[in-house]
Structure formats: C-alpha cells, structure tokens
Symmetry: C2
C-alpha cells in the first residue's frame, strides 16, 4: 500500500463520522503536513455514500496541531442541489476541534481542457533540475520529489523582495494522481516568508482554499510531475498569504489555491 493511501485511509464509524490516524511518514514540524490533512478531509467527502460529483472547492482551517493518535472526522452534506453539494467538516481529537473545513462537490460534464489566464510559467524540463535533498528534517518532504527552478530555501539569511517559487513536484514513489493527492500537492510550497527571508522560524498555515479546475477523467490522464508556482501577495506582522497554481506538464492549470499563514513575531 502506498504511504499516501495509508495516510488518508478512513474507517466509517457512523452515517457522517469517520476515524483515521495520520502516520508519521507525513509528519511536519508540529503534527502532520497540512497537505495530507487537506487530503484526509477531502477523502471523507469522497468516501461518503451520499456524495455527488467531484471536488470543486475546498477550504481547510487548521485550528490546532493534530496529535499522533486517532481522530474523528465528521463530514456533513449540508445542502444537496441538482448538480452540486455543500459540505461542512470537523476533525476532532477527544474534545478538541483540530480542523474545520467546507467543501463543494459538483456533477459536471467532463469539461474540456480549461482555458487559463494564469499562463504556465516557462520552466526547464524536470530531468534537468536536481531533486531537493533537504536540510529540513521533515518526514513529509521525503514523500515528494521537489525540483526547484526558482525560489528555493538557501538559508542564506539574505532577504529577497520576492517570495516567488517555481518547482516540479511528484510523489517520490509513483502513484496515479487523484483529488486527494492533488490537494496535498497544492500545499508543498514552504511558507513564503521563509523564501523572502531565506531562513526558517515558527510559522504555520491557518487556512487554505483550493479550487479544482479539472474533472476525474482528465486528472487520471495527467502524468506527474506537476509544475507549481507560488507567490506571497501580502506580508503583515503576524500573517501573510500565498497564491499558488499547479499545472500538468502539458500546460493544463489543475488547481489554484490560496493560504493564510501565521508567523510568530521575531
């Protein structure tokens, strides 16, 4: 079983209640990698017997760290329309909510290739770029092959006026793309303030929103690696944001996403 499938696996306990446990293989600094949490949340929607359609929008709010223990994930379809469905999700450990989320799924005709105004950035072929061997001891990083074209973390401490990153990303151990893995890959970018300052410090995403622009059939045909671009838009004292896109190697914009990140004031 692929480590990703193990990480997002859920047992259904009741109509709207699932149970899971994210293994250490997707660990981050504190608790699991945000991308795997987004994938688990989305998986509860996908596993729910009342679900209609494919994911269109997903917002995940990280309220606190997830402990290395089982969690309960409540997934409620709060409104089902003719062609779409709205979800509210809550991930609990004991009496503490760790994650809240909303999702929208929709039944659409398998769309034609979407037209994007956010042009795929020019990038050398993945084979020409070395795979990141990280200085950060983060287990989740070992699950991916990241190849930085621009905006890597060099720990130089030299502040930069741009936080833009451009990279190739793929599962280190091959696995077909699906909506949960796409959600996880939308979060592989380091916090933009790290790139801007070229050093690390306590920071964590508090909210992330992902829009899915492709249907299941197109996704299934998409070959990894994906090209990812991320840029910070605004940096205030305690919070900063990120806007990101993921493209297939033949130029289809698969997801657009944003996130808001907390940084502990230095």
């Amino acid at each position: 079983m692929h480590a990703f499938d193990e990480a997002i696996a859920l047992d259904r306990l009741d109509t709207d209640v699932f149970q899971g446990h994210i293994p250490g293989a997707y660990g981050n600094m504190v608790g699991p990698f945000g991308g795997i949490i987004a994938a688990v949340v989305l998986n509860a929607v996908l596993q729910h017997p009342q679900r209609i359609g494919n994911p269109v929008a997903l917002t995940v709010n990280f309220a606190g760290p997830i402990a290395d223990a089982v969690f309960q994930l409540k997934a409620r379809p709060v409104r089902t329309n003719r062609s779409n469905q709205h979800w509210i999700l809550e991930l609990w450990q004991a009496d503490t909510l760790a994650v809240s989320a909303t999702a929208l799924t929709a039944r659409c005709q398998e769309p034609s290739i979407p037209e994007s105004e956010w042009a795929m950035p020019a990038a050398p072929a993945a084979g020409q770029i070395p795979v990141l061997t990280s200085q950060l001891p983060l287990p989740w990083l070992e699950q991916y092959e990241l190849r930085f074209i621009k905006g890597a973390l060099d720990f130089s401490g030299q502040p930069s006026r741009t936080s833009e990153t451009l990279l190739w990303v793929r599962d280190r151990i091959e696995r077909p793309l699906d909506f949960p893995s796409l959600a996880a890959m939308a979060d592989v970018f380091f916090p933009r303030a790290y790139i801007r300052q070229q050093r690390t410090f306590p920071a964590g995403t508090v909210s992330m929103t992902i829009y899915f622009h492709v249907g299941a059939q197109l996704l299934e045909r998409t070959v990894q690696p994906l090209l990812g671009q991320a840029r910070g838009q605004c940096f205030a004292q305690s919070y900063f944001d990120q806007a990101a896109g993921l493209w297939s190697s033949d130029g289809v914009l698969l997801t657009t996403s944003t996130q808001m990140v907390y940084q502990k004031m230095q």
Copy 2:
C-alpha cells in the same frame, strides 16, 4: 441609518444564534448581492460576545439563494486559542441551509503597514474617471460608486483574452470603512466570464475566500475610494475562478480574495 448598516443588522436570539433580513436595497439578480451576505456573516462573528480579535480569513459558501425573508444565522466559536479563534457559521431559512462559512479572527498587535508583493496597479485618480451608470438593473450596484479604468462590461459580445478589471470603488453614500464593508467591496467585481465574453448569462459565486491584511486602526484611517483589481485564472466548462485585491488609495493592500463561480452552460 446607512443602508449598509440596516442590511447587516442582526438580532441575537440565543448564545450562538442571530436573526436578520437583508433588504432589497442590496438585491442582486437572484437574492441578495454576495458581498452583503459575506458582510452579514462576518457581522455575526463581530457581534458575538465571545469573539476575540479582528477578522483574518473568511470563507463563504453560497449553497442557494436567500429568500426575501428573515434568516437565522448560527455562529459557533469552535476553537479559541491564545491569540486566535476559529468559527463555523450556517445561515438557515426554515429547514434549508443557504450559506455555510468559516472564519478566523486573531488578536494581533496593530500591524505596521503590510508589505505587498502584489503591487498596486497604476491608475488615474478617481476624479478623472466617470462613475458607472449601469445597464444592469441590480439594486446593489446603486449602493456603490464604481469607476472602471479597465475591464468594464460593454455588452459588445466581443470575446477578450483577458478578464482583468481595474476599478475604483466607494460607498455611494459615505460611510467609514470597517471589516464588513471591506468584505462586501471584495465582491463588487462582475463575474470574470462576463468580462471575457462581454455579455451576461446565468452565473453565480459558489464560494468566496477573503484574507484581511490590516488591523482595525489602520482600516479606520483608510479613506475611500479603494482601488480594486480582479482577474480570472482558470475557466472550465461550468466553473471559473477570480483572484482580486483591494488597495487603499495610498497603496496599502487591504484584502486579497478568491472566488469560484458557477456558470450555466450555454
């Protein structure tokens, strides 16, 4: 009383339950303008006696139209940390959920002016641009002065390869800026597909996320009009997205936002 304050007014019925009714003055094609719905939802958080801090992130999911009648708005603080607080909100009419939302508020030191990488676009002074006199009979449009610098809706039916809009926006009847009015203004852009096709058709936002980059004190000192830029990033068959920013006239990026919009296939 300003029409905006009337529109977002709420009565508290119980610990976490508010009641309100959005008047026709902020009506859209079907039901109220999405921006006023976002403002009402945010106002429930702000009016809640347990709330700490200012809005940082808000996601509003439009599950169905709101009828011209009272609604109940449930606002639950689902997790309160030392410096921030997570909210889940549900807007109901009778037994039907019309809106779901999540919000994050945070107590921060009043931030210094945020640094933005999304540079404020160059724009002529508002006084040099005529106020929109719309051909669209939408009551909410009358509540704002919109001055289009770029990407107006001209109904020419001439498709364009860019959906970018640049405009000045202000309340038509003067009112100091606050978080609810800022949330509403983040939604004043027409659907990007209208601009791309220069015609209108049935379309509606299904999910919107707004990040707030300024504190209350800075917001209070911000003078209208604001400069707004919006662009579509990806257009699939049934859904397309929008990324937008709002700047103070002296160049402070106040909000960044994204939305996903449904369009009825033509």
